[in-house]
């Protein structure tokens, strides 16, 4: 017979084991599904990490969208389930000036203050993503005249402008190359939607994925506002020991010496 004491210990052990098992499988799934960083969120979305804890997945934004741009992730979409996203090549964001998707959010996952200028909703402040041009396959970069993305852009000449260049190959034609300015691009995707190539050669990517950040070593000396970043600058002392050997000694080492380092 199993004693009560043993029964209690085994029972507790079993519960603890099952909780650990469930917790591990569960968190593994969550970890996998949140690893996808290529998701375009609605305008006014807060930082992705905060978005995942704050979005309650009610779909009010998707219901409010008059163009059915916003979708809620379903099983099979490989995105955090129930969170809103959009696929610009299919339906881009048409940049409604009253931004109906944002004020309806009950939790602040879509934050009005991020798309507001002087107390007025301003869709041009949206940062859903940024357009990236594939300059190898964009036909405008070949010299064929196409300004589909440029004309589709709601911030024409700001978010996308055309750079005129002489076509040296023909000697008498011009390139009209689309250039994206990430300071203005909202990531609405109207350009990606308009692109004439089979698979779009201008695509929207979340800003975090492609926009780089700088440390304090590089400052625009000609820009007073950028110089403010110097206030955070600090000295770093490297501690690598200086080699006593002459450079020529390294030349005479065989390959083994290199591998040892």
């Amino acid at each position: 017979m199993v004693s009560d004491r043993r029964r209690f210990i085994l029972g507790s052990l079993r519960s603890a084991g099952l909780v650990a098992l469930g917790g591990l499988v569960w968190s593994a799934y969550v970890d996998e599904v949140t690893a996808n960083k290529l998701i375009l969120r609605p305008p006014g979305a807060i930082k992705e990490d905060d978005f995942l804890s704050t979005c309650i997945k009610c779909g009010m934004c998707a219901e409010a969208c008059p163009f059915d741009t916003l979708l809620l992730a379903k099983p099979g979409d490989n995105k955090p389930l129930g969170t809103p996203y959009f696929v610009p090549r299919e339906v881009p964001c048409y940049m409604c000036i009253d931004i109906p998707c944002v004020p309806v959010c009950p939790t602040g996952a879509l934050d009005e203050s991020l798309v507001t200028t002087n107390d007025v909703l301003d869709i041009n402040k949206a940062q859903m993503g940024v357009a990236v041009v594939d300059t190898k396959n964009c036909i405008a970069y070949w010299g064929i005249q196409c300004d589909a993305c440029y004309r589709a852009c709601p911030l024409m000449d700001q978010a996308i402008h055309l750079k005129y260049e002489k076509n040296e190959r023909t000697g008498k034609h011009a390139f009209l190359k689309p250039i994206v300015d990430s300071d203005f691009c909202t990531g609405c995707g109207l350009c990606e939607r308009a692109c004439v190539t089979k698979k779009a050669t201008i695509t929207i990517v979340p800003r975090d994925v492609v926009i780089g950040t700088l440390d304090d070593h590089y400052i625009k000396g000609w820009d007073k506002s950028d110089e403010k970043r110097l206030e955070n600058a600090h000295a770093e002392i490297t501690t690598t020991k200086r080699s006593e050997r002459a450079a020529v000694d390294f030349l005479n080492d065989d390959i083994g010496g290199l591998l040892d380092d």
Binding site: G23, S27, S53, I56, P106, T107
Partner: protein, 278 residues
């Protein structure tokens, strides 16, 4: 005809509220009806009253999200409303998964799976462990952990916003309940049921058992999805005070002897008396 009504009145009412709510939500999304918009995670009633799933709000809190007033008000309304009528009324009158598990349960009885599998290999307290785990994982991972896997939300969104592969979640629950565990999801695992059960402990609407009328036919225990709450049947005249009771009313309508009926929770004095009698 009156017999059918007498035997299925609560079941019909439940299907009516379940399907009716779904239609109202679908109308809210596709045709812009402003009766109720959103979904079971968070809705807006009449275009201005917020309603929110308090369990989702708890997970958000654990995950470190900033909680808006809107969300607090919505969660409080839901908590108080279900607190009054019995928390798991959500499970039996609103939740879309209820129809799936009821179907599995019905097949179980008709096909005889309950006879070949008498012993249930799992405890009904698992749901409270899952409930705690939801909050712990939300805290550790910084996401609303149960909302990431909830088959209730997946199914409800599939109904309102378009199916995709959303039906797979309901199928998983159906197969689990049919072949692995009787009342497996709703009765053992679902942390939302555990949550509403905890709220519902103080609920005012209770099933009342009259032992003197009972003929011990045990039909009620057969249909009850939480049969342990009917421990008093044919033994003692008591109210069903266990929060796990979903107030589905199946026991009331299958009882041919009028021994089970809905009632309002008795006054505190008598409740204590009842507990002393146990």
């Amino acid at each position: 005809m009156t017999n059918i009504w007498a035997h299925y009145r609560f079941l019909i009412l439940r299907r009516f509220t379940q399907v009716g709510l779904m239609l109202l939500y679908i109308g809210g999304n596709y045709w812009g009806w402003d009766f109720i918009q959103g979904n079971l995670s968070s809705s807006v009633l009449f275009g201005f009253i917020p309603l929110s799933d308090p369990f989702a709000a708890l997970q958000m809190f654990a995950a470190g999200a900033i909680i808006t007033t809107n969300l607090v008000i919505g969660s409080l309304i839901i908590t108080v409303a279900y607190g009054l009528i019995g928390g798991r009324v959500f499970c039996s009158y609103v939740c879309p998964i209820n129809m799936v598990t009821d179907a599995a349960n019905y097949l179980r009885r008709k096909l005889g799976f309950n006879q070949i599998q008498k012993k249930q290999p799992a405890s009904r307290t698992i749901r409270y462990w899952v409930l705690a785990l939801s909050l712990v994982l939300s805290y550790i991972l910084g996401v609303t952990a149960f909302e990431f896997i909830s088959p209730i939300s997946i199914t409800h969104r599939a109904i309102i916003f378009g199916v995709g592969l959303g039906w797979t979640a309901a199928l998983v629950i159906f197969l689990f309940d049919l072949f692995i565990l009787k009342n497996g999801w709703c009765g053992h695992i679902c942390p939302l049921g555990g949550f509403y059960g905890t709220i519902g402990k103080v609920g005012l609407v209770r099933v009342d058992h009259d032992e003197e009328k009972c003929t011990a036919c045990m039909k009620c225990k057969e249909v009850c999805p939480e049969s342990q709450v009917l421990f008093m049947v044919s033994k003692e005249s008591l109210q069903v005070l266990d929060g796990a009771c979903t107030n589905c009313g199946r026991c009331v309508e299958v009882c041919d002897d009028d021994a089970l009926n809905f009632s309002i929770r008795k006054l505190a004095k008598e409740k204590i008396k009842n507990e002393n009698n146990k």
